[in-house]
């Protein structure tokens, strides 16, 4: 019985020692890349279940505002899905003018977004009016 445990641990360590991320710009997904300690055939179900239990989800890392050549404000949002599952959600961006008032537009609607498990994601939203100087964004579950 003890041997079985030793073999299992050895296998996990061997399986986990292979993957090393080379370039942060390139994301090689689980089950495509070589297995790692936290992700191999033995540990994967446990780690995934633990991720579900602690409720890992979407994290927004950056929101950058730029003005495009047409003079419209562009919001570039980037984030990371910490969960192992694909997270589908909706987002809505409202644009604010220099007085902090909402600029009424027909493009401020709930838009769908999807981020695969343990993957970075990004999206861009363009203000349809040049008077927009700021924004506020809301998210909700994809029903």
């Amino acid at each position: 019985m003890r041997w079985l445990g030793i073999i299992l641990i050895t296998l996990m360590i061997l399986a986990g020692g292979c993957y090393k991320q080379q370039d942060s710009r390139i994301h090689v997904r689980e089950e495509v890349r070589s297995d790692s300690l936290e992700s191999n055939i033995v540990t994967r179900p446990v780690v995934h279940a633990f991720s579900d239990i602690i409720g890992e989800g979407i994290e927004i890392n950056d929101a950058v505002l730029t003005r495009n050549k047409g003079g419209f404000l562009e919001l570039h949002v980037s984030g990371f899905n910490k969960s192992y599952r694909t997270k589908r959600f909706r987002y809505r961006v409202e644009w604010l003018d220099e007085n902090g008032l909402v600029v009424g537009t027909k493009t401020s609607v709930w838009l769908p977004m999807s981020a695969m498990g343990k993957s970075p994601f990004s999206f861009k939203v363009v203000a349809p009016r040049t008077e927009a100087v700021n924004f506020r964004m809301d998210t909700r579950k994809w029903e």
Binding site: G71, V109, W110, K124, P128, R129
Partner: protein, 200 residues
């Protein structure tokens, strides 16, 4: 006998009342209703929003030397199995283009034409109207750009019980004088559901 009939009618009334479906207003701002196989207003909102954002981000409406482009709405083909008024898409897009400050839509020609513009010009020879109040010749402004497009649908059998319906919203912006296309975009709305659902 009479009492029995009264009881019967009361019972039927109560049962019928229990079955009635309540009518509710849709919260169009935050609608959490289930998706439907056919195109609904949320799909048009989404397609219009994405298409407008793409057009404004492209810079195709930025006129060299300033000013606004005169844009006509060309033909928007509905090639779906549904009876769609393409204005459901185009009015949102036209509104945003107008509000963007970079384009003026024309009602003189195109699918958004206003018949009254031409009808009032026929009043030039009428003695009933003050000629100074009737539009003069050569006062209409010709469009510089034309926006046209197509909405089409593909139905695919997904498996024994499910079907997949794909809706394609395609728009293009062309220069009327040169015929050159400045911008084009496609937005896809896909739905997967029961074979029993009808997507038209």
């Amino acid at each position: 006998m009479k009492r029995t009939i009264v009881y019967f009618i009361t019972a039927v009334s109560l049962l019928a009342a229990g079955c009635a479906q309540e009518t509710t207003n849709i919260d169009v701002m935050h609608d959490e209703g289930k998706a439907v196989m056919a195109l609904d207003y949320r799909d048009f909102d989404r397609a219009a929003s994405k298409l407008v954002q793409s057009l404004l981000a492209s810079g195709a409406l930025k006129k060299e030397g300033g000013g606004r482009y005169v844009v006509a709405t060309g033909r928007i083909v509905n090639d779906t199995m549904q009876r769609i008024d393409t204005d459901q898409l185009m009015v949102k897009i036209e509104t945003e283009l107008l509000n963007s400050g970079q384009a003026v839509m024309t009602s003189a020609v195109g699918s958004g034409a206003d018949k009254m513009i031409h009808e009032t010009r026929e009043l030039r020879d009428s003695e009933e109207f003050d000629p100074n109040t009737v539009a003069k010749r050569r006062t209409l402004i010709a469009p510089e750009l034309s926006i046209s497009g197509k909405i089409f649908q593909r139905n695919i059998r997904y498996d024994r019980n499910k079907q997949q319906v794909e809706y394609y919203f395609q728009l293009k912006l062309s220069d009327v004088k040169s015929g050159l296309r400045f911008w084009q975009e496609e937005e896809i709305v896909g739905k997967r559901g029961s074979n029993k659902s009808v997507a038209w």
